[in-house]
């Protein structure tokens, strides 16, 4: 147990913070703002006590109809607000950083102390490299699990209601009808797209670790690579595809707004682009890690820049 906690303390900290912030928002700010009617009833009580306001239309309506009842919102409306208005919204552009932080830790330790040689006199290079790289890929489930747990909170608050008419009517919804109409199955689609994005972040981290053999610097470089990819997406979407070919795929190439599903009517194109990127990044990783001798040389020297 102690060993597990020691090896996974970063994952545990991120997990606890995200769950705490998510549930704190859902059962605090969201509930009091969008579900409870206590605040509005109290305001009417105060306002309608004065002789001046007692005869107003609002107060007369309030006296006739009685206090407002608690509002009901559907599960996806609540989930949408969690993604858009809670402190967790910053994950859309910090998730890449956090994923590198956890996924590069162990592999960086192996690469950084020259121990690679001892492994490679005991197992085939292909086995070693597959095992080591796959070790970092196990973190693809961290954020999907966090969001599934938060989704359960939304399910509780929304009392299992998937009547999304209110969500669709609300302005600027991040979840358009075609996805919202999936009802409870929306979380499957959301989790799938989240996993695809997280795989991209991990692959960027593995590339950066082969650029510089230092844990902290490689995290920074992987975040820079993420920003470069996001900016390139903007440039390709806006300047090349739209301006030159009049094809509007700008939102499909938005790598920062990963929680936004508005303006992406074609989910297959959205995931297809990302899967293509995964293939390209995997190819780059293959080229960077295929040479056993270069990797051994690289791991023997701290702060070695790609060679």
């Amino acid at each position: 147990m102690k060993k597990f906690l020691k090896n996974n303390y970063l994952v545990i900290i991120i997990f606890i913070i995200c769950i705490f912030l998510g549930y704190f928002y859902l059962f605090g700010e969201f509930k009091s703002t969008y579900l409870n009617s206590d605040d509005i009833n109290n305001a009417f009580e105060m306002m309608c006590q004065s002789d001046e306001m007692k005869t107003s239309k609002e107060c007369q309506d309030y006296f006739i109809n009685g206090p407002y009842e608690d509002a009901e919102r559907d599960v996806l409306f609540i989930f949408y607000y969690l993604l858009d208005s809670s402190p967790l919204r910053i994950l859309s552009f910090t998730m890449s950083f956090l994923i590198s932080l956890v996924s590069l830790k162990k592999i960086s330790t192996i690469f950084n102390n020259g121990q690679t040689k001892l492994y490679l006199t005991r197992e085939k290079y292909s086995v070693f490299i597959k095992k080591t790289l796959l070790n970092s890929l196990k973190y693809i489930f961290l954020f999907p699990i966090i969001f599934i747990i938060l989704y359960l909170g939304c399910l509780w608050l929304g009392k299992g209601n998937f009547d999304v008419s209110y969500l669709i009517d609300s302005s600027a919804s991040m979840i358009p009808y075609q996805y919202a109409s999936l009802g409870p199955w929306f979380i499957v689609l959301f989790t799938y797209s989240l996993i695809i994005n997280v795989i991209i972040y991990i692959l960027l981290g593995l590339i950066s670790l082969r650029i510089v053999n230092n844990y902290y610097v490689s995290i920074i470089i992987s975040y820079i690579l993420f920003l470069v990819m996001a900016i390139s997406g903007e440039i390709f979407g806006e300047l090349i595809f739209y301006e030159c070919f009049n094809i509007d795929i700008h939102n499909y190439l938005n790598f920062i707004g990963i929680f936004e599903f508005s303006d992406i009517p074609n989910y297959y194109l959205y995931t297809g682009i990302r899967i293509l990127i995964i293939f390209i990044l995997t190819g780059i990783i293959y080229l960077l890690y295929r040479n056993k001798e270069k990797l051994i040389n690289y791991t023997e020297k701290k702060w070695e820049i790609l060679k």
């Binding site: 330790t109 102390n113 121990q115 040689k117 490679l120 006199t121 197992e123 085939k124 292909s126 051994i296």
Partner: protein
Amino acid sequence: MILKINGLVKNFKNESVLNDINYEFVSGNIYGILGRNGSGKSVLLKIISGLYKQDQGKVLFDEINYNDSNDFPKDVGISIEDPSFLNDLTGFDNLELLASIQNKIGKDDINKILDIVNLTEEKDKKYKKYSLGMKQKLSLAQAFMENPKVILLDEPFNGIDRISVDKIKNYLINLKKKDVLIIITTHIKDDIAGLCDVLLELEDGKIKNYEGSKE
């Protein structure tokens, strides 16, 4: 076991490090390879153990060539420059972690080998608290522990106390009697004097029989 090296060439950029090395190492012998710093001793051991790839030539273990397929030669124990282990694990745990890769030995075998290199008392200390000599002993322990048929040792006695050196040398002599092939490289002849059956010299990228001191 016969380890045959045929026409081995290794260059780094435009610098020739090993130049047409030919030699046949036979099990049941201890070979010492002398050479000044930077003469290519470590590179030679790295090529033999499959860590580096030669530019030309072949390394054959009983006629089997492992080097062309990024594979590693089976039953080879190696202690090579800059021994490194995980800082936060104890010496014992580090060995156990490495042993778990091939799963050939258990805790008793690890304890036995720690005793041979005189590291039993410090086996539960964290690696980061080890002195240079203790680190070197741990590196030797991992090279010996899985009962390899070939042992490659690069400057094995660096920083190790005299009593432990004598104990390790006796162990190597016992292994030789059990038909193990042992190759030791060093730049200090006194380190291996009296231990080796054959003394070789690596100079200008070539290997030849040692002909005595030139100083």
